[in-house]
């Protein structure tokens, strides 16, 4: 299920191994926890198709044997002294809460009622 935007139908641009990029935009929106209307999904799906077509240029560079970089600095395990310092006061942390009760953040049920 879900709304699929096929880039081939949008721009005629197959990309990965000759296969058209296929975006199940409703599924992506669900993963990202953003509740969008059908119309918004349609529009964003089309825009992503165009952006991904440009982004797919990264596949044109030969990268055999190239290591991926996740971070610009060669840093591993930055430690600081394990000193105990007072945390943010609970009341202070709760001042910005949309809803708080008895010293806790209050939220709707995690599971739907049967």
């Amino acid at each position: 299920m879900g709304r699929r935007v096929c880039m081939e139908s949008v721009r005629g641009a197959p990309t990965i191994g000759g296969m058209a990029i296929d975006i199940d935009i409703a599924y992506v929106a669900r993963l990202a926890r953003i509740d969008l209307s059908d119309e918004e999904l349609e529009r964003i799906g089309r825009q992503l198709g165009g952006i991904l077509e440009h982004a797919a240029l990264v596949q044109q560079l030969p990268t055999e044997g190239v290591e991926p970089t996740s971070h610009p600095l060669p840093m591993v395990n930055a430690f600081r002294p394990d000193r105990v310092v007072p945390p943010l006061e609970r009341d202070t942390a709760l001042t910005q809460a949309p809803q708080a009760e008895d010293g806790y953040f209050r939220v709707p049920p995690t599971l739907e009622a049967e």
Binding site: T15, I16, I21, I23, I25, V28, A29, R30, L31, A32, R33, I34, D35, L36, E40, I44, Q47, L48, G50, I51, L52, H54, A55, A56, L57, V58, Q59, Q60, L61, T63, V66, E67, P68, T69, S70, H71, P72, L73, M75, A78, R80, P81, L88, T92, A93, T95, Q96, A97, P98, Q99, F105, V107, P108, P109, T110, L111, E112
Partner: protein, 493 residues
Amino acid sequence: MSSPADLTLAEASAGLRGGKLSARELLEATFDRASLTEAELHAYLTIDHENARAAAAAADEAQANGLWVGPLHGIPVAIKDNMVTAALQTTAGSQILAGYVPPYDATAVTALKSAGAIIVGKTNLDEFAMGSSTENSGYGPSANPWDTTRVPGGSSGGSAAAVAAGSAMIALGSDTGGSIRQPASLCGVVGMKPTYGLVSRYGLIAFASSLDQIGPISRTVEDAAATLEVIAGHDPLDATSYRGEYPRYRSLLGEGVSGLRVGVVAELSGAGIHPEVLSAFRSAVDSLAEGGAIVSEVSLPSMEYALSAYYLIAPAECSANLARFDGVRYGLRVDGATVEEMTARTRAAGFGPEVTRRILLGTYALSAGYYDAFYGQAQKVRTLVIQDFTRAYEGVDVLVSPTSPITAFELGSRTEDPLSMYLVDVCTIPSNLAGTPGISVPVGIDGAGLPIGFQIMAPALGEEVLFRVAAEVERASAWNNRRPPMVEADHGV
């Protein structure tokens, strides 16, 4: 002299120290300038009159008692609104954080305050710093002081516009793909992105953590270097903070460029650059050669792919970072029957179109089946960009290019086509991927009266040579702290 609001940091400091100027006078002149320009510019989201006045009074009192607080004593500074400020609303330009009042200061803000700076207020930006025009702000766009029908650039457009207009002497921006340098270029001011890790990101609301870096926007190269001296430093609260030496960044200003090797990046200074921008760029390169620099053309083949890699890596990181805006602990909440429904409704209501687009793009690029083809491949291209830079810096001391391929564009002219907006970052993005420093210095005006910026890039931790070259570009361009027409007539107090 015109209004004290038009002084440089160096001039204002001298005036303050010599007793010719008080912090109060300087702040009031800054507020007056804001009153004159804000209706048209909307550079600020919040101006903190009360606390700024109290801080200026305290600065004057301290000085009367013989105490000079620090290098920014009495200097009015603006902060991009994606850096948290204790007890002062911080929105990141997003409706999802409307009314959010942080319980602490970002480390860079603490550093400014400790150095004696007066925080004037919080400047407008593209929502969560995602954009190149400030039009993606959830609170309305800012305008360019040189032509208010045009964008100030982005995402630090409010900071650049404020410094250009004189409603701040210095401002902090953040640069993830050019968000300090590009608006500085479009507004005719200096904007500098330091080496990744030099300025703590603690309290900077994260967009793309491996690319984000805080830096100064100012009217002169010297002021930018002086501000970096204040905000750079190791911070145990940021695990990516640099642990080595922090030199005095003004040490080589005025040394000239004789004997320095300057590489013109071929891929960023030809096709796709507007002819007037290119012409001003070439004149500035010629002036460096006249100053004794050894100029050569350098090819970095991966540059053409940097933009594509960036628009996979930055959205991927943003989709993870922005997961924290879930309606639970702070900011907006839209009710729902379950946590998931509440979260999804909150995020739909709180995020604007560009942020939504990038979160979905990043979520897709990281999702099963597409990870290797997009995100994984982009990370390898990032390696190639770094290798190209490393190779280039074996032969030259700095690399140069235009900062932006075009000058300030009309408000509304690129909002319908996200890709056309992304393309204006083509010259600035490579430095973010490599974590290396870059600076934009104004060098001229195009036929429409709009500023043109010149970009200098240096190897990691190459700030001293970066500022040295920047100071020579500034001197040779005879820009001479030129001000936008809208404030030229203001002779202030």
